[in-house]
Amino acid sequence: MTKVQTDSRSIRIKGRSFLAVVLTPELPLDQWLERLDDLAARSAGFFLGRPVVLDVTDLQIDRQQLGEFLAHLAERNVRIMGIEGARHSMIAPGMPPVLKGGRPAGDVDVASVEPVAIAVQPAVSDSGDLQTEPQATVLQAPRSALQSLVINEPVRSGQSIIFTEGDVTIVGSVASGAEVIAGGSVHVYGTLRGRAMAGSVGNSQARIFCRKLEAELIAIDGIYKMAEDLPTDLLGQPVQVWLEGDAIVAGKVN
């Protein structure tokens, strides 16, 4: 086992995920807004302080109409944190950012009647470039305390797997130029050539395991090590990485 100290004042970069309410408006928009008002009247303050995402995937409207619609929502104190499923042509400067890669997390029951379709999903914690997510891993059930994401294929260069709810297991390799960010531990049953970040939402108990270590960067709870800081005798070996205090420690697993 090799022990390496890091500078105790390392910069910490963390991901965080929030449960967002997703609104999926339908045409005609004025009627939909009426139903929304009706809902708001019956469950006052439902949207207050909640992150709200607008899903416009199937909505045939243009940039101007979207702008007006956002203004109508703002009048009702519904603040939109992000827009999902928008075509580029629909987005004007100053509009909320475009989100990708959200995962469903069950419907929200509002006052037992559902005049407006609402779904809840964990909001993505960054630009949301979650390109690889096999169907089988899409979360359908409401969140439970412990979750894991299993990816049954290699993570390719340019892809990022972001899963802040728990552990990520990759049955395959993580390519150079790819990254895996987990709230819990990261398990790679293959070669780790890219980046792995475990405990990304503040979990110092999280670990990184891989069958073969050739990583560009590893991080636990925001403390990281670059490729050149990794002990050379561990390169190409089956390795686990964990945190002792503020130091990243790596050792062989057999």
């Binding site: 390109q131 260069s157 340019g158 390519a175 070669t191």
Partner: protein, 271 residues
């Protein structure tokens, strides 16, 4: 309905155009109707390798913009009658390719041809994503060196996310074509080993094409190497790859050193 193949790589100069022409001509020699489509708008090359540069009247962009009929733009090969070329425009840029236009052209071609082979431009931008968008099968062209392998890996990620197949939740069939494989450099250990490339990319191997002067000679006379010199080592390797593409289950032969100096790389390097 024909099968749509995209020949892609991310990196330029790895042998996409050479492979599109060689595989197209090899499949056409199996008596199947083949069209090779140049998606490299602005940097077209396939017409040169096919020896048809002086016969280009209309191109893909003209067809998409409605200035020419598809049949007017298709160029029949002078040597193999069931081999056609749909050239790219040299004067326009890739912004003239619209997603709807490309979809229409590909669907039309699929009705008449057994194989529609799309030669992708380098990069991961619009041209490359449009070329792969409607493919059923991808041939990922890779040279045995790190940057090419990494770019191919990136492209495989796009094939699994940005194509119609991927969006429908289906699996895109992907094959690795290892090209410009230099026996001497391999023997010296100057290149990535075949096993390493396969391990990194983890997609099935379609074939290994040796680095060869025969490829340059063929392109200088304006013929796919599988027409120019069918007996040559690269042509043989392309014929084998074409058979595998057509569904035959045959083992991949390693390119052999001509003078027999090193023998088979695999047996020499077996651990």
């Amino acid at each position: 309905m024909g099968k749509v193949i995209v020949v892609t790589s991310g990196k330029g100069g790895v042998g996409k155009t050479t492979s599109t022409a060689a595989l197209g001509a090899a499949l056409a020699q199996r008596n199947e109707k083949v069209v090779v489509v140049d998606f490299d708008v602005g940097l077209r090359n396939l017409d040169l390798v096919m020896g048809a540069e002086r016969r280009v009247v209309y191109d893909l962009v003209n067809v998409i913009q409605g200035d020419a009929k598809l049949t007017q733009a298709l160029i029949r090969d002078k040597r193999i009658e069931n081999l056609f070329l749909l050239p790219a425009s040299q004067t326009r840029d890739k912004d003239n390719l619209t997603p709807e236009g490309v979809e229409w052209v590909i669907n039309e071609l699929k009705r008449y041809f057994d194989w529609v082979i799309c030669d992708s431009p380098a990069g991961i931008e619009r041209g490359a994503t449009l070329a792969m968008r409607h493919a059923d099968v991808a041939v990922v062209v890779t040279n045995p060196e790190v940057s090419s392998v990494r770019d191919s890996d990136r492209i495989i990620g796009l094939l699994d996310s940005k194509t119609v197949k991927a969006e429908r939740g289906e699996r895109m069939e992907k094959h690795l074509l290892l090209t410009r494989f230099d026996q001497n450099r391999a023997a010296r250990g100057d290149m990535l080993k075949v096993e390493d490339v396969l391990e990194i990319l983890s997609i099935p191997l379609l074939g290994i094409i040796p680095e060869s002067m025969d490829v340059l000679k063929a392109s200088n006379i304006g013929a796919p190497v599988t027409i120019a010199d069918a007996k040559s080592a690269p042509a043989q390797a392309y014929f084998e790859a074409a058979r595998r593409l057509a569904g035959e289950d045959i083992p991949v032969t390693m390119p052999e050193e001509k003078r027999g100096l090193f023998g088979k790389i695999f047996s020499r390097r077996a651990a």
